[in-house]
Subunit: 420 residues, 2 copies
Amino acid sequence: MKEKTRRPKRTASEEEESMQRTLTDVRGFRAWGAYSGVKSKRRDIALIYSEVPASAAALFTQNVVVAEPIKLSRRHIRSGRAQAFVINAGNANACTGEQGRRGAEAMADATAEALGIDREVVLVASTGIIGRTFPTENVVNGIKTCALKLSELRLAGTLAANAILTTDTFAKESFSTTRIGGKRVHMGGIAKGSGMIHPEMATMLAFIVSDVAISRELLDEALREAVDDSFNMITVDGDTSTNDMVAVMCNGLAGNEQIREKGLIYDTFRAELKSHCTELARQIVSDGEGATKLIQYDVEGAPDRNAARKIARTVSNSNLVKTAIFGRDPNWGRIVAAAGRAGIRYDPDKVDLYIGTSKTLIKLLENGQPLDVQRRKLKSLMRAAYIYVLLDLHQGEARATAWGADFSYEYVRINAEYST
Amino acid sequence: MKEKTRRPKRTASEEEESMQRTLTDVRGFRAWGAYSGVKSKRRDIALIYSEVPASAAALFTQNVVVAEPIKLSRRHIRSGRAQAFVINAGNANACTGEQGRRGAEAMADATAEALGIDREVVLVASTGIIGRTFPTENVVNGIKTCALKLSELRLAGTLAANAILTTDTFAKESFSTTRIGGKRVHMGGIAKGSGMIHPEMATMLAFIVSDVAISRELLDEALREAVDDSFNMITVDGDTSTNDMVAVMCNGLAGNEQIREKGLIYDTFRAELKSHCTELARQIVSDGEGATKLIQYDVEGAPDRNAARKIARTVSNSNLVKTAIFGRDPNWGRIVAAAGRAGIRYDPDKVDLYIGTSKTLIKLLENGQPLDVQRRKLKSLMRAAYIYVLLDLHQGEARATAWGADFSYEYVRINAEYST
């Protein structure tokens, strides 16, 4: 039970090598994060550039109300190729009409011109306040600055990671090296999180790059699967903001034979991609507004995958469960009641429930009935920063994992004061 | 636009007559609320009794995990007849297994014996903590006390209303008189609310009685319709606790010819029943944990009723909208983003949005684009205790109304401290 909660194991040398590295340590990728002046005193414009054209894939918000950069990027990604990601923070460019549409186009044009590439290989993203006039001039100037400074510093990727933040309190980054098809392959990512990573989440953005060579079709499939088990398990189906976007570029400079079909080599790549998505998703949850704890919800023994996913997400999304865990209260009643309203038919009298930490899980419920437990020990476990909840339905073989934050006073303060 | 937000008009004399009256002012109904000792220093057991057998209908939680009293009452209501409602607070009798099952049976048995009626005409409900051993002896003794004291005081209905509360801060009651089929008909109700009236709401209970004569089939249909437009519009589909229940008894003592078919007379009754359900639902929302404001969400111009309902509920249920309104921030961006993720396809570029009070609604958005508004005036309107949000989709004729509370620091405090 504990193994599955650990991150993928790496050798000591690989672990050491991956320290302090950012996405600009992936061959052929350069980045920068600059000040455009939209946010006072913070970097607010990021550029990620591949020196050669790359296979690319991207997934977008399911919201009916869609920001202008999303509309543009949806068109550009159809080719399955990209060479640059450009992202501004501070203005979401949503509900901005024709002025906003021109602003998004200007971002792509400025990026293409500064880098000497086609505008169609530029993907554009925005995050920030909705419905404010888009500050096109500032943003375009910021893009020019980024293009001039690309990778001037060792930690340019970290500057980019910082430049896409809004209410986040830290930059989210991932990096790894692995062997794929006999070649050393690098992968790096950045992400930004959002209000509580909740149904009503603010924008979630993630950008991942790799020097692996892979066909656009398989890259698209691998990304969909990875996002489904990571970013989609920190939100609820369809509950996305106007600006959500996850995008990946793979430029092939690792020199492996291009991955064109499924098999062991593809499996290694997709595991790596999923690992990055999971890592970034967890970092986002850890930085949920006002979050004091990260909670992992494992559902096992479900009749099918959909049932496991729905139950895991419904429980992880329960305000009453979140507030209980903030209060260090192992309130299994709220967990069971939340699972029961997930819209899945199951027999509650077969369910076992465990709560604890990565080291110790305590069984609270067996066959749907509460067990006598040492409340003092349990209370003390609940002080941990990473809490595990395991529901075993004993009604099948399917499983799913979701992640959530707890729910503190700070959440209300942030969201009552952060204004349009 | 303003009329639809008003309660049904009554004449001055009717208004005066309905003051200070409770459900024991409905002919043939008696009630009491007693101390069983389960909750310290608060009444925690309620009994509502009809002196003659009554037509009855009830609706129950959709949760997979169902409390023992719900299982029992589901069986008993199949006959369409009832003569008593008995409700205990402090222990939900959920996840209590065989011991709990016997406890619920004991409640029905004790009520039947004390009142000299069949156990099958007793409906049982519970609210409180889940998974604790059910205190059958206390509850049974409390029932005996209730039966002895039935309607000893003028405000016995209010004692019953108080005895079903948990984290509520005030008792919820409704009363009206109206003419149906040439006779004066009385109707009275009590309800209890719950944690934020949210997807993860704690138990919601409502009990309504009337002296009207109506067939059980039409009563059932009227109740389903009334609940759909009231209690179901303060929650999200299927998102019910283990214990939710709404029940109604009509004992026919008003002397009207029994309503057996649809028509004007039935319409008068169902409007009256819906008015009570709406009034009780609004009171529940007003007492949402930590609520400082009641918000009414009207969606108009929707392509169909389901679309209007889903959008109204999704917006009313948004944590980001709730916290914004707590912060007196007319944050239309969050409202539009929440509407967009309701799972309904619509054209966001046709939508108008208004925010304000019953007296003044200010248009913030036209055809999906923000308008210039006087922010100072708007901010000042947001100080009101009853806020109106109107979304006009301009894409059809359907409409729906949902109600919600705002979201304050107090909500987190209550739910982090109220323990299993």
